[in-house]
């Protein structure tokens, strides 16, 4: 395991890659904030687990992947879907429970998937998707393909059996899996110190004989560089690995009602929000003169327009027809 401090690596990265990372993060941020407003306004049913704060992880990892690389996600999965290239119209339509949604209104926020871009689904069961990524990696190897698989999960999920069984299985079968733990310090509302004795989830990788890296999850460039190394390694047939990204959830576990004290201190929240990954990357890009403030602003305004159109599409889409309720219970 190595601590990675890639503070100067920004100059080593192609400008296009930096803009790509920035754009992916902005798309996630705005998608989530608008979703939050829709929920708050009572326009959207169900649960909402916002990804805001953790954008650098999804953006950094996804920028290293190809469309045929498979990811699995969590209940907090919008960010992964957006970063993997999902269509925002179908995502919002699903949040609204519409027939045009990714799941035709049968899944909702926690089940967005799009196999055409290698998104094997968000999952409402903590740890539930991790073995699927191992299976996707197995299928790729079986078919002689060089794609990799990336299960995303939180610190809390590393206490569930599915994580441990999957890690051991991927290791013993030498499969191209990069286990990406987004350690946001909380399992729902329980702080890490009360749900595991280790300071680093990465230490768990040693138990399965696989290498691990710890990376600053508020630094998209650092995540990109570290994930890139591990993806390359997996693609070259060198087996699975674990990447722990230390990050933070700006909203609550669920919903948009704000940052609920006392389970987190205001000081802690402020400290992390000052490290906001999007502002940080933007600052570094303008400092390094690889982007102008105007260029970055155009990313925000362009994304706002795209999102407004996507929400309109979703709201104007038809509801599912109850007569079709039984569609897709079985493959016929």
């Amino acid at each position: 395991m190595t601590e990675t401090a890639e503070q100067d690596s920004i100059r080593a990265l192609p400008t296009d890659t930096l803009h790509d990372l920035y754009r992916r993060m902005v798309r996630i941020r705005l998608f989530e904030e608008e979703a939050g407003k829709l929920m708050e306004g009572g326009r959207m049913p169900g649960f909402l687990h916002l990804y805001v704060g953790q954008e650098a992880v999804a953006a950094g990892v996804m920028a290293t992947l190809r469309a045929d690389d498979v990811i699995t996600s969590t209940h907090r999965g919008h960010g992964h879907a957006v970063a993997k290239g999902a269509d925002l119209r179908y995502m919002y339509a699903e949040l609204f429970g519409k027939q045009t949604g990714y799941c035709k209104g049968r899944g909702g926020s926690m089940h967005i998937n799009d196999l055409s871009i290698g998104m094997l689904g968000a999952n409402g069961i903590v740890g539930g998707g991790i073995p699927h990524a191992v299976g996707a990696a197995f299928a790729a190897v079986y078919k002689g393909q060089d794609s990799v698989a990336v299960p995303f999960f939180g610190d809390g999920a590393t206490n569930i059996g599915a994580f441990h069984e999957s890690a051991n299985l991927a290791a013993v079968m030498h499969l191209p899996v990069i286990f990406v733990c987004e350690n946001n310090g909380y399992a729902e509302f329980t702080p890490q110190a009360r749900h595991m004795l280790l300071e680093n989830v990465a230490d768990r990788a040693a138990a399965y004989g696989m290498p691990a890296e710890i990376v600053d999850g508020m630094d998209a460039v650092a995540v990109y560089v570290a994930a890139g190394r591990l993806v390359e390694r997996a693609r070259a047939g060198e087996g699975p690995s674990l990447l722990e990204a230390k990050t933070y959830r700006f909203y609550d576990h669920q919903g948009v009602k704000g940052l609920r004290i006392p389970y987190r201190t205001q000081e802690e929240i402020d400290t992390w929000m000052e490290r906001d990954a999007i502002s940080a990357l933007g600052q570094r890009m303008t400092d390094a003169k690889v982007a102008t403030p105007e260029e970055l602003e155009k990313v925000w305004s362009g994304t706002r327009e795209e999102i407004a159109a996507a929400i309109t599409f979703a709201e104007q889409s038809p509801d599912p027809d109850p007569a079709d309720l039984l569609d897709n219970v079985y493959t016929v």
Binding site: R106, H132, G135, K143, G161, A162, L169, V172, V329
Partner: protein
């Protein structure tokens, strides 16, 4: 026709399925080098190699979940859960994942996963290696569940299960493994959801699940000696359930007894009895009877276990009760 054992018919189905479709892989604990604890996988490793016949760590949630992911990516995995009793350690991957991906992902994904396992009592295997839990599985939309009752059916149902694009659980009965019967050599399919009328009769219908079919046929033969003709239906699959065949029979015989090894309370017999009263009430000359195990874990002692599992004598007694009740 040549006769082979139930377990050999199972092995033969996999040999032939793997020959016809290279996307079929077998994954489980000790299935490759050892051939499975019941030797149900003997010879597969030699025939198809380590790439397609895979020993796993003792990680049912891990390797069944891996099967789900591999199935979603185009393979046709057969995962083996050694004993049905072990389902608790991997159930999430079966009922929340395999069963629901198709539906909750809007139809984008199919999960052609077959889970093979062994259920049933009668070998003094004790409370954690003898259970019949098919009703749990039948309750989950998205799953299919087969319980073959003969060497012929185990092969045909396995072929159907593996070719099916839905997650399907095939529950082998441990006491049937060494039982011989006629099995065609060529590959053939028994459609999932098609019950078999294994013995025709006019006086009462016995609807049986799994090995209870054998006991029901024995009971029917005994009752025939006293002039009572019992129709025996093998449900073959409890999900989907072939209600039409059951109802058609009961409308002719006017009496029904459902028998399974699982505990009576909340068993699949409750579902079948309920369907009969909803759909064929006016044809009934007696209340539908259920015969299952008492509401207790499966006991170890051979004496207790014999008392626990329904058998031909109890089935015959049940049919007599039906006839007495209706003045037949």
């Amino acid at each position: 026709m040549r006769e082979i054992t139930y377990v050999k018919a199972f092995t033969e189905s996999l040999m032939q399925l793997m020959a016809e479709d290279e996307d079929v892989v077998v994954i489980g604990e000790d299935v490759a080098h050892y051939g499975g604890v019941f030797h149900a996988f003997d010879g597969l490793l030699k025939a198809y190699g380590e790439k397609r016949v895979i020993d796993t760590p003792i990680s049912e949630m891990g390797f069944i979940g891996m099967g789900v992911g591999a199935a979603a990516r185009g393979l046709r995995p057969v995962c083996d859960l050694m004993f049905l009793d072990f389902i608790g350690v991997c159930l999430d991957q079966l009922y929340n994942q395999a069963a629901k991906l198709k539906f909750m992902f809007g139809g984008d994904v199919s999960v052609p996963l077959t889970l093979t396992t062994a259920g049933g009592a009668g070998l003094s295997a004790g409370p954690q290696h003898s259970q019949s839990l098919e009703a749990w599985l039948a309750h989950v939309p998205g799953l299919k569940v087969a319980l073959p009752s003969s060497p012929h059916d185990v092969k045909g149902l396995m072929v159907a299960a593996v070719r099916d694009d839905n997650p399907t659980v095939v529950v082998l009965n441990k006491r049937m493994l060494g039982v011989k019967g006629p099995v065609p050599e060529e590959i053939y399919e028994i459609p999932l959801g098609q019950a078999a009328t294994v013995r025709p009769g006019r006086d009462a219908t016995v609807i049986a699940v799994g090995r209870m079919v054998v006991e029901a046929v024995t009971a029917a033969e005994e009752l025939a000696g006293s002039g009572t003709e019992v129709e025996v239906i093998d449900v073959r699959t409890v999900q989907p359930l072939d209600s039409a065949t059951i109802l058609d029979s009961v409308r002719r015989t006017n009496r029904a007894l459902v028998v399974h090894e699982a505990v009576t309370f909340g068993g699949i017999g409750a579902e079948i009895a309920s369907q009969i009263q909803e759909e064929a009430f006016d044809y009934l000359d007696a209340p539908v009877l259920r015969l299952g195990a008492p509401f207790s874990p499966v006991p170890f002692s051979p004496v207790l276990e014999r008392a626990y599992i329904p058998d031909s004598n109890r089935i015959a007694a049940g049919v007599r009760r039906l006839l007495e009740r209706s003045g037949g």
